[in-house]
Symmetry: C2
Subunit: 359 residues, 2 copies
Amino acid sequence: MSKETNKASEPAPTPELDRRKTSILGTVVYEYIATGEPVGSATLTQKYNLGVSPATVRAEMAALEDEGYLDQPHTSAGRVPSDLGYRYYVDRLIQPEVLGTEERELIRTEIHRARTQLDSAVDHASHVLSNLTRSIAFAVSPRLDSQTYRHLQLIWVNAHHVHVVLVTELGTAAQATIESAREVDPDQLTRACNTLNARLAGRRLNEINAALLTELTRDNALPAELLRALAAMFATHGDLELERRLFAGGANNLLDQQEFRDFRTLRAILELLEEQQTLYRWLQESLQHEGATVSIGHELGSADMNECSVVTIPYKVGDRTAGALGVLGPRRMQYARLLSLISHVADSLNTLFQNETPA
Amino acid sequence: MSKETNKASEPAPTPELDRRKTSILGTVVYEYIATGEPVGSATLTQKYNLGVSPATVRAEMAALEDEGYLDQPHTSAGRVPSDLGYRYYVDRLIQPEVLGTEERELIRTEIHRARTQLDSAVDHASHVLSNLTRSIAFAVSPRLDSQTYRHLQLIWVNAHHVHVVLVTELGTAAQATIESAREVDPDQLTRACNTLNARLAGRRLNEINAALLTELTRDNALPAELLRALAAMFATHGDLELERRLFAGGANNLLDQQEFRDFRTLRAILELLEEQQTLYRWLQESLQHEGATVSIGHELGSADMNECSVVTIPYKVGDRTAGALGVLGPRRMQYARLLSLISHVADSLNTLFQNETPA
DNA sequence: TTTAGCAGTCGGCACAGGAGAGTGCTAATC
DNA sequence: GATTAGCACTCTCCTGTGCCGACTGCTAAA
């Protein structure tokens, strides 16, 4: 299972708390996640065998509040975890939840279903994730550069537009329509396409650049513009990959969560889903880390998102990181379960995309 | 401009009201759409020059309520239009709103932008519609059958999967991955594909059926299954066209409307968007009518949708109805403006898809 | 037929008071 | 010195009351 990365406070890891504080903090977080109600000292001692009296718990909770791990909605209410409290819980206290076999099976079959298109496997992954977590799930389609070229089809649409379909060893990987200011000759296009297929089969896509394409198609010169676009498709340069598809779904689950009964939050999330930019950025950031990344409340960087948390995880095609998926839910989410689920979904994708001939 | 069709009460058109009742009903609807507040007799006589006193207006409103055109939220409140009231307004009283030139221009340019893919034009249409109406817009991609074959590309993915890209005179029209239980030979596929392109160019897609495909590819026999799937792609049979893409967006506009501050309604709509089935059915029904179709409140057939209205309109490719688009908003929507907008968007699509060589 | 006037109805809001939950503090206890 | 019982205190939430304002329906006069 993947390790979760501390994202917001990279240089200053949370200091360690003594055993009893740890135990109380953990119990408060656990209980609050389960019930959604502020947790009082009495409840805590009754439901969990802590071996101390409510008065002691009160003192410790007051201390934990001073140190910033707990919040108090108002004077006469119980305690609620703060962002820091959740952070400590996620970084140190969480223990991976074991998934039921039926869940594991569901994930596997669902993801393996439509496997001739890489896109569609990721789409399915996002769907199954949103259903299992009853939250919003999102994912970005895989980058191509480390995959192996199998077949390219250049289809002449009209003098200024060429449709491209790329098939890699893993299946149909990308399609796009490229516009060219210079006119494209259909016959030259066909011949160039044949040459490319003859010469490029088996190559890694990231070895293929505009210069190579130009050289191979010298006899049937195509517009440089077209070749550049083609090369760009193969070797995704940095962050400019706006063409990659983003899947998001599960907005109907929003209203199950009491924290989303607030219209400000609700609107913020719906706008997020509509514009997609931010989701995309979160996934992009996730690519930097090995395992799952958890971002809690204010760490998301928007006041309207203070009641939310996001969990993201990268997935691989072959041996290389190719994309990522994520879940957006209430800050009061079941982190243990969610981390297990998302890790398993990512693992399933990895397995599917691992060997070069899945079908 | 298109005529709106009475959808729910086809056989029994609303009876005509006398001049004064008509005027009062119209004013109530107009005022309520503008303000969102129940309309009282005093407000009405003050803001609109009706030539009668509040008392008379009260009597008429009471009558209109008896006849079912108005509702009263509670005894001491003003009146609100009922579904029947809106229906009368839409069918008889509405006068088309003239769009500003900047709006017309926006629609035109936005739709003409990505025009090498039919899908993408419809997608853009849906987007521009949701932005201009600040509501949810949705649309289904065009059916193909009346278009002209230009080019077909069959791409061998693996022994059991073939990727198909179809280009018609209007541009890239469809792509799909077809699964075949019987093995497909790559060389035969290529030769069959060449034959088809040589023989089918210029034909109407609906003239092409499985029998014709089988005959043309007799020399390079392909699995019957594959040919059937191919034929199905061309000649969309009735309602079985689950492969056609549906676009929907604008959920973030939901919260602008006070009627969507209700969680029941909100959830119902979010679920609608997620499952897509119902949206699809509405569009399907819209194809039966010439112009715009307006469905008001209970006419949508779901209790959770009582506060909503839907406007749909078909669009054409060539001279034949090929798809439809729609807007989902509050029952208290600006029907006049909305009908103008959606009609203009549909007209723009029609123009774009009219001639056989747009690019 | 229309209108002015008036009594009646109802929702919404502000306000007060009581119940309940949970705290912090202090003094006694281990 | 750490822990605990007891208690006064604080604050939210709920409920009930009373008032204000908006609009109606009815009746009698124009």
